[in-house]
Amino acid sequence: MYKIMEEETLALKNFRLELLDEELEGTNLTGELLAENLLQKYYPVRQALEKTLLNCIDGHMIGNVMEVLLNLMGLVLRLDKKYRRNIENFDAVYAFTDKAGDFYIAAIFRNNTLSVSRKKVDNPTFTLIFKDNEALVKLLFSGAPDILNAMLNQEVDFEGNINYMSKFGYMAMHLVLELTGGMVFA
């Protein structure tokens, strides 16, 4: 289990993607200077999110894996230009919900950024319905995030175009593989 430092916990507690956006709007800094500044400032938050995510994957903390993932994704999209290429001109709304309807979160990719909402959104592009958080973790981070396999095991269901899930799976997996060093290429 990854230990989350006190300052990281504190930073995470005060972190909202919206606050970061406000900061981005209000700043005079641009280009590399801005990137460096933000990277430094948000380092503890990123650390906290990454460690929490890895703990979720290792089965230590299951509760809020999707929220953690989306926050990390949102943060990295704002800080990392190359990762941001993933959502250039990409307009899509993902809804993630459990079968019981107890959990709901939406990821809204619009205007080259990601926002996260707990409120129900109309007509999402893609809806993922998962049996429980364990199924979700298994789906997204089993090494090959494979919705087809999860569906065969009746752990998830979906509405919409499955290619959107494949894309989301790639983006999620990329974050984890960067942390674990698990990328393999020819």
Binding site: R85, N86, N89, F90, G143, A144, P145, D146, I147, L148, N149, M151, L152, N153, Q154, F158, E159, G160, N161, I162, N163, Y164, M165, S166, K167, F168, G169, Y170, M173, H174, L177, G182, M183, V184, F185, A186
Partner: protein, 810 residues
């Protein structure tokens, strides 16, 4: 009429060592890892981005031709090894090309891990992964076949069922393929003549036809450009080559590529390379899923004969060229995402070559080339091509039949045997002219096509029959999907008063699923017509050039769509079990039987023993007489034949399963025949393992199903412990003779024991290239997943002496 002039039809003087460089080529191809190739995806996507939807909407056939021609014209000319034939499907020696129009996006989430996958990894460079993620996939996210169908029709029930993956597979989401092109025209006339003909015909045609002919000319020019580039590359390499022999080969290759496919093939070497280049062209247009070269011993024979008579070719040289082609057919595999790997892994592209049988006049067509091809197959023992031998009892010789049997004994798996009498009769019954039916070839696994004339899309539907059975058992629901209602409510079985009511429920559910699958196939076909016309394949077919119509619009001489079935034997036995246990002997109530099934027969040893032993079993004489199997076959035939497809052809039921019987079995709960949860189903049309203790009875049962009702073809898997001598191979030939006389269409073999296969599973390193027959196609045992390996291990094993079952004591 075939001519056999060889003194030794076994060609024993030609071993692998005698064929120059063939062992190295074979071993090189077998050891070569699969590289994911993005080249085609890049050029097609680039063209689409530039010209986009507008051109597709306005000129569907022409846009496709231009996109494919751009790829072919720019395709890298690669000569990666010492093969005598020029050209590669992808940019590597062995490639998995990405087809984003079809299922190319299924590996999106795996781009950064697929290279390191434990089982059958497919290698991808970082640059290619980024190219796919950033440049190629985003364009297709809403535009591949399935996404386009969904966009047009919404989340309709047929799509929901497809996406559940436990009811049926609709292959149109993944490919066009599954057909046998006609190479005779391009070999005899050359592509330039076809281009001229197309351009002339375009002149006076109405718009649709004009565009089709323009498309043919455009795409063939792309193929010729690729051949030219190969020629230049061969010449360049020859200039650098130090080895004199190889330099000469490269110069010859340069000459050949300058000549064909542009011009008529002047001899055997040009003919063989022409076919390979045309196959590359077809692969450029569509995924290679069972694009089958067809009757090559017939198509190539005139060129072989001419060269032999002129003294410009030797048997050895001909065998080397055949070996080169055989090896080349394995230069491409399909892109396989993790789930497909787990469920259906190990499949090749099943390019079927067919030899033997009779000619269009009904005369023995076996010739010298037939035996050369059999010998090369025997020597190489490779997965590709998928070899099939036709046999016409009474017209083909016993020597030929026994020679094929010897090759099966030697390779332990190939070729498969096909009964000309039944298959020709079956095709004639489907409206094929007799002379065209006699010229049939095998598509992919086992499907039948009048070669180069019949566009059969033979894998359009893969129907899971056990899904329909379960839906009858659970009133329109499936066990695995809980309370979700899919099929019609056919009633609670517990309340049914007789077996006929349950049988009717099963038929209702089956007919409903077929209707859904056919509806989806038709809808996707319209998407194919808009997005994926096939002008290049059409140019290599009888019909389109005459009609001015692309294959996907019904240009071929004959048209049909195929629907194969998974779980036939298990369903037949389960219906027999319900009838016996519940309604005839009242051994248990329907409720008790369902309860036992739901609980996977836990603590139900007595009932399990009863259903396993008492009810009639498909594969036995008694079942043939009094059981349900023949009725199901007839019912399915009549149901499918009631549909006419978008090209004006009928739907043809078939019984081959590839590895789907293993994959679908893995995710299906227990059945009333005593098959426990998550175990594989019986393959193809094969009886359930150990249900048929006597091979002769088994053959008679399968033969009695009536081949007229199986126009799509069947795969019967039989396993023998060992065939160690020519005498024993002749015994195999006798079994086949008897089976064919009883009406069987097809049979394929594995010559290996339970023990050997268990050893191969435990010690894969001892059996690096063990070839096995799955259900229709061949595979390397080590490439298969454990479930499929277990299915092969537990298949009924027979003794060649007497045909009795060899018990499996494990």
């Amino acid at each position: 009429m075939g001519e056999v002039t060889l003194k030794d039809i076994r060609l024993e003087e030609y071993g692998l060592e005698e064929l120059d460089g063939i062992r190295e080529l074979r071993d090189g191809m077998l050891r070569e890892p699969v590289h994911i190739c993005t080249e085609r995806a890049w050029y097609i996507t680039e063209y689409m981005k530039e010209h986009g939807e507008e051109e597709m909407e306005e000129h569907p056939v022409l846009y496709r031709a231009r996109a494919v021609a751009r790829y072919l014209g720019n395709k890298k000319a690669v000569i990666p090894d010492g093969n005598l034939l020029a050209g590669t499907t992808g940019a590597y020696l062995k490639s998995a090309p990405v087809y984003p129009e079809f299922i190319g996006l299924t590996i999106w989430s795996e781009l950064e891990t697929i290279s390191g996958r434990k089982k059958n990894p497919q290698l991808l460079t970082k640059e290619d992964a980024e190219r796919l993620n950033f440049d190629i996939y985003p364009y297709w996210i809403d535009r591949d076949v399935l996404a386009s169908t969904k966009k047009k029709h919404g989340n309709i029930m047929p799509i929901r069922l497809l996406e559940k993956m436990i009811f049926y597979v609709s292959s149109k989401a993944g490919c066009i393929s599954h057909t046998v092109p006609d190479f005779k025209r391009v070999l005899a006339q050359g592509a330039e003549a076809i281009i001229r003909e197309a351009e002339e015909k375009a002149e006076g045609s109405i718009r649709e036809e004009k565009e089709f002919y323009q498309a043919v000319a455009t795409v063939l020019k792309g193929l010729l450009k690729y051949a030219e580039n190969l020629s230049e590359e061969a010449r360049r390499l020859a200039g650098e080559e130090k080895d004199e022999k190889r330099r000469e080969q490269l110069l010859e290759m340069a000459k050949v590529c300058r000549a064909v496919p542009a011009n008529p093939a002047s001899g055997f070497r040009e003919a063989v390379n022409c076919i390979w280049l045309c196959l590359i062209g077809i692969h450029a247009e569509n995924i290679n899923m069972a694009i089958s070269p067809g009757r090559l011993d017939q198509v190539l024979y005139p060129y072989y004969k001419k060269d032999m008579e002129e003294g410009t070719l030797t048997v050895k040289e001909a065998m080397e060229l055949i070996a080169c082609l055989w090896i080349k057919t394995g230069d491409n595999v399909d892109l396989v995402p993790q789930v497909s790997e787990e469920l259906f892994g190990g499949a090749g592209t099943a390019p079927a070559v067919t030899v033997g049988g009779v000619d269009e006049e009904g005369k023995d067509a076996v010739n010298d080339l037939t035996y050369l091809m059999l010998r090369v197959t025997e020597l190489l023992k490779m997965r590709e091509p998928n070899m099939n031998a036709r046999y016409y009892p009474g017209r083909n010789t016993i020597e030929y039949r026994n020679r094929v049997s010897e090759v099966i004994a030697s390779t332990k798996a190939v070729p498969a045997f096909y009964n000309d009498i039944e298959n020709i009769k079956t095709l004639v019954n489907q409206g094929t002219l007799e002379e065209h039916a006699r010229d049939y070839a095998v598509i992919g696994c086992v499907e039948l096509a009048s070669a180069g004339r019949s566009y059969d899309a033979s894998s359009s539907i893969i129907m899971n029959l056990t899904a329909a059975f379960e839906m009858a058992l659970y009133n329109g629901k499936r066990y695995i999907t809980g309370e979700e209602q899919f099929g019609p409510k056919t009633g609670e079985p517990e309340k049914m008063e007789n077996f006929e009511q349950f049988l009717e429920a099963f038929k209702t559910q089956t007919a409903w699923l077929i209707d859904q699958a056919v509806d989806l196939n038709e809808k996707m076909a319209k998407i194919h017509q808009k997005m994926l016309p096939t002008p290049l394949l059409s140019a290599l077919f009888e019909g389109p050039m005459e009609k001015g119509k692309d294959l996907v619009f019904g240009g071929a001489v004959y048209n049909s769509s195929g629907a194969t079935h998974v779980g036939f034997a298990d369903v037949a036995d389960s219906l027999n079990a319900v009838k016996k246990a519940v309604f005839e002997e009242h051994y248990c109530t329907f409720g008790e039987l369902i309860d036992a099934v739901r609980h996977n027969f836990e603590n139900q040893d007595k009932l399990l023993a009863y259903v396993k032993n008492k009810p009639l079993k498909y594969g036995t004489a008694e079942e043939t007489e009094n059981g349900i199997s023949r009725e199901i076959i007839r019912f399915l035939y009549e149901t499918y034949q009631g549909y006419t497809n978008y090209r004006g052809g009928k739907y043809r039921p078939a019984y081959w399963t590839m590895t789907n019987h293993s994959g679908q079995g893995k995710i299906t709960y227990a059945l009333p025949n005593g098959r426990k949860a998550n175990l594989p189903f019986a393959s193809g049309i094969t009886p359930v393992s150990e249900a048929a203790a006597d091979l002769t009875e088994c053959f008679r049962s399968v033969g009695a199903l009536n081949s007229l009702y199986i126009p799509g073809g069947e795969a019967l898997n039989i396993k023998f412990t060992n065939i160690a001598s020519r005498e024993e191979a002749a015994l195999l030939g006798s079994f086949i003779e008897g089976y064919f006389k009883s009406g069987g269409q097809q049979v394929q073999f594995n010559i290996m024991s339970h023990e050997m296969l268990r050893d191969a599973k435990a010690h894969p390193e001892k059996y690096p290239d063990l070839l096995v027959r799955v259900s229709g196609y061949s595979a390397y045992f080590n490439d298969l997943n454990d479930t499929m390996k277990d299915e092969l291990i537990t298949r009924t094993e027979y003794d060649i002496h007497g045909g009795r079952m060899v018990p499996d004591y494990v």
